[in-house]
């Protein structure tokens, strides 16, 4: 079977609602309270940088120290205007990076810096750099998977499913979806543990068993009742729900999907729209900051903030803890730019919006309860093309949160010309000094230490080892407590 994004999407038995009828244990407030006491009532926000973010111009070596990272970088990327080059050069100079230093690469000791765009601007001034300096941002270098795939479609599906070799038997379910739908987690078909700020359900969240809601703007999520003949409204509602309930019970997966989605959408339309007014009237200062940024990232994160505010203020039937937002435009084959230009603008948009969002959450008192993960489907070619970069392999992941143990984790990929495979960095496991960070170790750390999912359950139900494959080239041993021998990713 040809695996395309479409077919992957189609393979889900049900994207927004599952086969288990009736409310899950989460619908019981006592269970929710008990769970909150166990895992601290935690939130998880995924930010997807769509298109393949250039990792080498995201976390950039400033010097060589014991290795050759800076020299290799200089050789691969042409100088920009700041170093006497032209606008087609995308190299970040030492001066460009002076204000955004972070820690050093654990393996080579090379000083690392964030792309200057991550310094943020406007109400989000400081951006990721400020969050890093506060100790709340972890940079996990060299994240990837065996047999790197350079197709946007295939690679994003691999990141979303967490099943690079397709040997998990997971179909198209996402790694977060499998967590949400696991019986140990306890959500039912008509619960809504997750909200995606999007017109569709993101791949990470696909599963059968509970509901994920796709919302663009909460304010507009009201059900379009007929304003006329109000005395007939109850009959219409009864018929609407009856038709959808019968479709939900169908053996045809798509029919069941539409039946479930219609039911859940109806239910959510009763409770979610009010969150908009609640937020804007209760938090005008933060509301204005998102408005001032005037970017899609800021507007989307504000919707997440509204739901989280709804949860923290115990609004009825608002139980979502998991969120997803997307920022597009990272497929910088041409006109990428260096310290200014297209790539700068993308980073600036994300960092500024996330800073405002994170400050907002801190002000709500939930900074310690949130973990934000920023990822992209691959990095880009080490050697630039004429004025941009083609598709690449391993890339850095960011984790942000009050309980995230800030710092640099994992090894920078080896970008020496002789170490590249078709111009891309190579995935390594085992004892290699440039050992990569498998995405499943990142996911496993989050599941185990953030969601307190038992280690054995993760291995049996969510993430499958590449057992039987070459341990130097595949993920045959999990690393759910540390990343490549580093510190724990989460503080107690």
């Amino acid at each position: 079977m040809a695996i395309t994004r479409r077919q992957f999407l189609k393979r889900s038995g049900a994207v927004t609602a599952g086969g288990l009828l009736g409310p899950g244990i989460f619908s019981n407030p006592l269970v929710r309270t008990a769970l909150a006491e166990t895992i601290g009532d935690r939130y998880f926000v995924v930010i997807y940088l769509d298109g393949g973010n250039d990792g080498l111009n995201t976390v950039t070596p400033v010097d060589n120290d014991m290795g050759t990272l800076r020299s290799d970088y200089m050789a691969a990327r042409k100088p920009g205007p700041g170093e006497g080059g032209s606008n087609s050069g995308i190299r970040l100079s030492v001066a460009d990076l002076a204000g955004t230093h972070i820690g050093v690469d654990p393996a080579t000791g090379a000083q690392l810096a964030l792309h200057p765009g991550f310094a943020g601007a406007g109400p989000g001034a400081g951006g990721f750099k400020a969050i890093y300096d506060a100790g709340d941002l972890a940079v996990i270098q060299g994240c990837g998977y065996p047999e790197p795939n350079l197709s946007h479609e295939v690679s994003s599906i691999i990141w979303e499913t967490g099943d690079p070799l397709g040997i998990g038997g997971y179909g198209n379910t996402g790694w977060i979806g499998r967590y949400l739908a696991d019986p140990a987690t306890g959500y039912g078909a008509l619960d809504i543990p997750a909200v995606n700020i999007n017109s569709a359900i993101a791949g990470e969240y696909v599963q059968i068993g509970t509901s994920v809601l796709a919302i663009s703007r909460l304010r507009d999520f009201g059900f379009p009742f007929d304003g006329d003949y109000e005395d007939d409204a109850a009959a219409k509602e009864q018929a609407f729900l009856a038709l959808h309930a019968k479709s939900l019970a169908s053996a045809q997966p798509t029919v069941a999907l539409v039946g479930g989605a219609g039911t859940v959408t109806f239910n959510a339309s009763e409770s979610y729209p009010a969150l908009h007014g609640l937020y804007t009237s209760s938090r005008p200062a933060f509301n204005q900051m998102y408005t001032a940024l005037d970017t899609s990232m800021a507007r989307d994160l504000r919707e997440v903030a509204k739901v989280i505010y709804g949860v923290t203020t115990a609004q009825a039937n608002i139980d979502a803890r998991h969120f997803w937002v997307r920022n597009g435009g990272y497929d910088t084959h041409g006109d990428q730019g260096g310290a200014t230009g297209q790539h700068f603008n993308l980073h600036n948009e994300v960092a500024s919006a996330v800073k405002v969002f994170y400050d907002d959450l801190a002000d709500m008192g939930v900074a310690d309860k949130v973990c934000i993960m920023v990822w992209s489907e691959f990095s880009r070619r080490v050697i630039q093309n004429d004025n941009g970069t083609d598709h690449g392999s391993q890339a850095p992941v960011f984790l942000i949160g009050g309980k995230v143990n800030g710092g640099v984790y994992g090894n920078h990929p080896n970008i020496a010309a002789g170490a590249l495979d078709d111009g891309n960095t190579v995935y390594k496991q085992g004892a290699d000094p440039f050992r990569s960070t498998d995405i499943r170790d990142v996911y496993g750390n989050v599941l185990k230490h953030w969601f307190i999912m038992p280690h054995g359950v993760i291995i049996s139900n969510v993430l499958k080892l590449d057992t039987g494959f070459d341990p130097n080239e595949y993920w045959t041993v999990e690393d759910f407590d540390f990343i490549n021998g580093g510190q724990p990713l989460f503080l107690p």
Partner: protein
């Protein structure tokens, strides 16, 4: 089991009209009505729908909205085979996706409108023509050359964007129907080299080679001649099953000869010879699979794909018309879904938002007003906004993959947009333009008869079986609605109030139900 000589029933005719166009239009040329089609053979019906001579229409307005609306209006008014023509233009617009905003950011709005308009006309003129010609032309289509960076692909550092998508999306697919990879990164690099140095000429609506920017062996002796599918790939032999990375059944080696303009055509010729791990033509299977999903249902079996290809003689001829005809006379086209016992992965297709909106308007005999395509009533009821909320803005496919089909159309926000559209159209106080008395017989009084008449008029479902859109117990739900759970066993639809309350309500419920959302 039927074939091209099988006569079609009225239910079949409704299926053909819906699938070859948008809804069941109230106003249609006589030969193309359900009544006229009923009793004809499948072959005669297919020939009738495929007999159109493509029009030269090009949607181009003073700004994006004007262009967008001109195309929508053209689709809305299409009769006879031209509805099918537009459905095919939409298919190719998704298959060879380019996006107005990206072009406008690169080239300015004026050029972007010209390029998108030209490309749209090009799909229209060639939608039942030769697929290989289509691919060769898209190689030098200005909108495409801009969108996938062919114009930035220069000899010193070739840009791989187009080379990759040419194989992944337009011709082969990443993997074949057995899940084995069809090509490797090295093949992309080699194709990117062949495409270096091309620039577009928007006015002439084509591209031409600038030899000084083209990768030649003389300029880069170390790169060697351009070779695709010629590399030995020991690493892609599966190391241990089960494993999702496959390999070629046997090495396929083709050398791109010449070092000039003809290179990109040679690449295309080679791609059309590519065979998969069953030894079958890869492009034929990839395209047929996708067309079956578009016109019939998701995840058709390999056997069905191969039957269609064999019946059409597509391999070698590359002619779209016989390929489409083979689909239109096959049983799969006449099923309302995959026949039971269907696998868990084989299912109905979700109607595209454009099909849902335009089909509903055509089925109700309603049309939006003015060049802005505004529905009567409400504040935000331009078709553009409604479709955007449902997740589909034509000329703005969401990515290089086009739109995500199927389930991605079914999410909270996109479903609400469908419900709202229906509410505004038929059940709200603004809906005076909706005149059901023109659509069904108002002398009907039995609630079951009324439900059946509306279902048939909308072309939603027959027969009422377990595999149909609307099941018998859902029919009962609608009867319960009409009778207020039996309190009023018959209805007088001639009564203004009853009609507005219950008949409008019935239309609304049916159009909001899974039966209408699926295809």
């Amino acid at each position: 089991m039927g074939d091209q000589n099988t006569p079609i029933t009225a239910a079949d005719a409704r299926q053909v009209v819906r699938r070859c166009g948008f809804g069941i239009p109230v106003k249609e040329s006589k030969k193309y009505t359900v009544d006229a089609l009923t009793g004809l053979t499948r072959g005669a019906v297919a020939d009738l729908f495929l007999s159109f001579r493509p029009k030269g229409f090009q949607p181009k307005g003073k700004d994006f909205f004007a262009s967008h609306n001109k195309w929508l209006k053209f689709m809305l008014k299409a009769k006879k085979g031209y509805a099918l023509q537009e459905k095919l233009v939409l298919f190719f617009h998704d298959h060879f996706a380019t996006n107005y905003t990206t072009l406008a950011n690169q080239m300015g709005q004026a050029d972007a409108l010209v390029m998108m308009g030209q490309q749209n006309r090009f799909f229209r003129k060639n939608c039942t023509g030769n697929f290989k010609t289509l691919v060769k032309s898209i190689n030098t289509n200005p909108a495409m050359m801009n969108f996938l960076d062919t114009v930035l692909n220069l000899k010193n550092q070739p840009n791989e964007n187009y080379g990759r998508e040419l194989m992944e999306l337009f011709t082969l697919g990443v993997r074949d129907l057995n899940g084995k990879v069809n090509y490797l990164q090295e093949d992309i690099v080699q194709i990117a080299r062949a495409f270096t140095g091309w620039q577009h000429d928007i006015k002439a609506n084509t591209g031409h080679l600038h030899p000084e920017a083209h990768d030649t062996t003389a300029a880069f002796p170390e790169r060697g001649p351009k070779v695709i599918f010629g590399v030995a790939h020991p690493e892609i032999v599966p190391p241990a099953p089960p494993h999702n990375v496959g390999g070629f059944a046997s090495p396929q080696s083709f050398i791109v000869g010449g070092e000039a303009e003809n290179e990109i055509d040679e690449v295309t010729e080679i791609l059309f010879q590519h065979t998969d791990t069953d030894g079958e033509n890869t492009i034929a299977r990839h395209l047929t699979f996708k067309l079956l999903e578009y016109f019939c249902y998701a995840n058709p079996t390999k056997a069905v794909v191969d039957q269609i290809i064999a019946a059409s003689g597509f391999v070698g001829s590359w002619e779209m018309k016989p390929l489409l005809r083979a689909i239109f006379v096959h049983d799969v086209f006449y099923e309302t879904a995959a026949p039971a016992p269907y696998g868990a992965l084989t299912k109905k297709s979700v109607r595209w938002p454009v099909d849902y909106v335009l089909g509903t308007l055509r089925s109700l005999g309603m049309k939006p007003k003015g060049t802005a395509l505004q529905l009567q009533g409400g504040d935000f009821n331009y078709l553009y906004d409604l479709l955007a909320d449902m997740g589909q803005t034509v000329m703005e496919p969401v990515s290089v993959f086009g739109w995500d089909w199927e389930e991605s159309w079914i999410s909270g926000v996109a479903l609400l947009a469908r419900y709202e559209f229906v509410r505004d159209l038929v059940t709200s106080r603004f809906s005076e333009a909706f005149r059901p008395e023109r659509l069904i017989d108002l002398d009907l009084t039995d609630p079951g008869d009324i439900v059946d008449a509306v279902v048939a008029q909308l072309g939603l479902s027959d027969p009422l079986g377990t595999n149909s859109q609307l099941t018998a117990d859902q029919r009962q739900d609608l009867i319960d609605y009409l009778t207020d759970n039996g309190a009023n066993p018959t209805l007088d639809l001639q009564d203004y109030d009853t009609r507005n309350r219950k008949l409008h309500g019935l239309y609304g419920l049916l159009l909001q139900s899974p039966a209408a959302v699926l295809h």
